[in-house]
């Protein structure tokens, strides 16, 4: 145990696992207090995640935007930046992908990559703004990204209403050639909405890993995250790295939007409130310890929790909002890793 506390790498894995367990535990207590049966609740939740091929398909479908949102948050975290603007970047990416998917006529081999690229560029530009303002004017990126979320929410809704409106609060549908949906995957999972987007999510995770671990740029990004002044002293261009990090982060978020636009929905709704994916992305990144592969696992878990929530409501009568509570609690516990360190130290002392 003492060794564990000294070994930061191991501790980084222990914290998320511990937090997830604690989150579930407190969730169970809340169920008990509310007069629900926690065992029935969790077994229904488990059923909803793994009970049938369709449930598994839906879990993976919901995971793809979450993984990408998590990558976006995690990538910025690595450079010491907090991107709360994933939600907004996701929305502009969603809109860009739907526009390209609807307006252009191309063969599928070109159309899909172009639409995803459009989403990445739109999200990247939207993420670049706070990066630029941070580098140039030293404005805190948290506030700017929050404000830009609302600008994105209202502006995308207005643009759809003005230029892409198909009626019934929805935009036009994208062309068949831009669609990520797949009859094969859908049949394989008994008619879920699973689409090829998950491949894009995994590919992006690999790209993030490669960029951060195997390139000079990645080394610089991380160095800036560890110690901005030392990096500057070592001759790195801190401003450039901040802008670059936020742009890439925004691009990941934009692609998350493309998952919704080209995959799950094939259009975009005139939203009056946020999707929540961007905020869940913060939870995913924290739980995944900002590691691309950890983020994939965390994304699948949260995707499953979200898609299984209705089943929990249906089978065990537990309000589906419990899932949101559990996710929030997990964030608290991961963020309060000091508490977990404290607890573990206490335990290890008693063990001696």
């Amino acid at each position: 145990m003492q060794k564990l506390l000294k070994n930061d790498k191991l501790f980084n894995i222990v914290v998320p696992i511990f937090s997830a367990i604690l989150g579930m535990l407190v969730g169970a207590i809340i169920m008990l207090i509310g007069g629900y049966d926690p065992a029935a609740g969790f077994s229904a939740l488990f059923q909803g995640m793994f009970g049938s091929p369709k449930n598994i398909g839906e879990m993976i479908r919901a995971a793809s935007p979450l993984i990408l949102a998590g990558l976006a948050v995690g990538f910025a975290f690595k450079t010491g930046l907090f991107n709360i603007g994933v939600e907004g970047q996701l929305l502009v990416g969603w809109l860009a992908s739907v526009y390209v998917g609807y307006a252009l006529n191309l063969p599928a081999v070109i159309h899909i990559p172009v639409a995803i690229l459009a989403a990445a560029i739109a999200g990247g530009l939207w993420g670049m703004i706070p990066g630029f303002l941070k580098a140039k004017f030293k404005v805190h990126e948290v506030i700017v990204t929050i404000m830009l979320n609302y600008v994105a929410l209202y502006t995308t809704a207005d643009i759809i209403k003005r230029y892409l409106y198909a009626g019934n609060e929805k935009s036009y549908k994208i062309q068949e050639s831009a669609s990520l949906s797949s009859g094969f995957l859908s049949d394989l999972t008994n008619g879920s909405r699973l689409h090829w987007g998950i491949l894009a999510a995994v590919l992006m995770a690999i790209i993030m890993w490669f960029l951060l671990e195997k390139t000079t740029t990645g080394y610089e990004l991380k160095a800036v995250g560890y110690n901005r002044h030392a990096s500057q002293y070592a001759g790195m261009n801190v401003s450039k790295n901040i802008v670059f990090s936020m742009t890439i982060s925004g691009a990941f978020a934009g692609i998350a939007g493309a998952m919704e636009g080209l995959g799950t929905f094939q259009n975009m709704t005139v939203l009056s409130a946020f999707t929540g994916t961007g905020f869940d992305g913060i939870a995913v990144a924290l739980l995944g310890a900002n590691n691309p592969f950890g983020i994939i696992i965390a994304g699948v878990l949260f995707g499953g929790l979200n898609t299984a929530a209705p089943q929990m409501n249906f089978n065990a009568n537990v309000p589906s909002e419990l899932v949101e509570i559990i996710i929030a609690l997990i964030i608290f516990f991961v963020a309060s890793s000091y508490l977990i360190r404290l607890l573990l130290t206490r335990f290890s002392k008693e063990g001696k």
């Binding site: 948290v142 506030i143 809704a157 207005d158 309000p319 909002e321 963020a335």
Partner: protein, 319 residues
């Protein structure tokens, strides 16, 4: 339509929409002045709206029109207690304050709806019978011109909000307590050396932000929306956060900014009645507060700087 007629429409509407923002922004000032970033204002407001509506629905049969006023007090206490979660995580356990704030927002959204379903077996509450109504102030509303503009069809909460802003300014800048609160937000180590309990002051700052945001949320629910759904508070907390920043972390500045944002929001609703504004797409008015806040931060609209130690947990003995 004369200029005066326009004022008669705009000013009451501004005061009406701004009141919840003023309260919540003042809460933000309290917390950030003590050195704790509070992104959770939105969630605290939501919790206040929830507590306010549930209390009103429970009490309205027995106490009638007094119910919403009691509900505001209950909401203030409830949100104050709820904000302890943020305080414990970010002060005692040294969690990243932004992360903790995000978690507060998610927790509030989940918990309130969970409880609503538990209590009422449906996803939203009924409308309350007694709201905090827009009313004419006796005597003052009879004054020609001014009475119509400033004292007619405005809920009392708006005047209370303005009064409280002045009170908060007095407390923060003119009392020993205020000096201590500001000192732990600017230079906690110096404050500690002078014998001020940094963490205790920060706890007070965060809980006060919960109290004010709770008032703001319940005022919004009881004067504007009238019931509680998951979307009752949709961005008002972040708008209040923006108002606090645009007001440069100063109570009176926050008051002014909240009034201005209330003005912008009300314009997007009442704008259709006003000749000049009919042609401006309402989306520009809706996004104006957010864009202006960004511009304020970049220094285009006067530089805004946060309290120096805002966002940094205080660890005794660390340099």
């Amino acid at each position: 339509m004369s200029f005066l007629d326009i004022l008669v429409i705009i000013i009451p509407a501004t005061l009406y929409t701004a009141a919840p923002l003023i309260f919540t922004a003042l809460g933000g000032v309290m917390s950030e002045r003590s050195g704790v970033v509070n992104i959770g204002l939105e969630g605290l407001m939501l919790f206040g709206a929830f507590a306010g509506v549930v209390t009103t629905l429970t009490l309205q049969d027995s106490v009638g029109a007094a119910a919403p006023w009691i509900a505001i007090v209950v909401a203030a206490i409830a949100s104050g207690i709820f904000s302890l979660v943020h305080a414990v995580a970010s002060i005692t356990f040294r969690a990243d304050q932004t992360v903790s704030g995000v978690a507060i927002n998610m927790l509030a959204a989940g918990l309130t709806l969970f409880l609503i379903r538990r209590i009422y077996n449906k996803g939203q509450t009924d409308f309350v019978d007694y709201r905090i109504n827009k009313q004419d102030v006796p005597f003052l509303s009879d004054i020609p011109v001014i009475g119509d503009i400033f004292f007619s069809r405005i809920p009392y909460t708006s005047y209370i909000a303005i009064f409280v802003a002045i009170l908060v300014w007095y407390i923060i800048f003119k009392t020993p307590f205020g000096l201590r609160l500001r000192s732990v937000g600017e230079h906690p180590m110096a404050a500690d050396t002078m014998g001020i309990n940094v963490n205790r002051m920060r706890y007070i700052g965060v809980v006060l932000s919960g109290v004010f945001a709770g008032i703001g949320g319940s005022v919004y629910a009881l004067s504007i929306s009238g019931n509680f759904t998951g979307h009752t508070i949709a961005g008002q907390g972040f708008l209040a956060l923006a108002a606090m920043i645009f007001g440069k972390w100063h109570p009176i500045g926050a008051l002014g900014a909240a009034l201005f944002f209330g003005f912008a929001t009300s314009l997007s609703i009442t704008g259709a009645q006003i000749p000049l504004l009919q042609n401006i797409p309402s989306v520009f008015l809706i996004i104006a507060p957010y864009v202006l806040t960004i511009l304020a931060l970049t220094g285009f609209v006067g530089r805004a700087d946060a309290p120096k130690a805002s966002g940094i947990p205080y660890v005794k003995g660390h340099r």
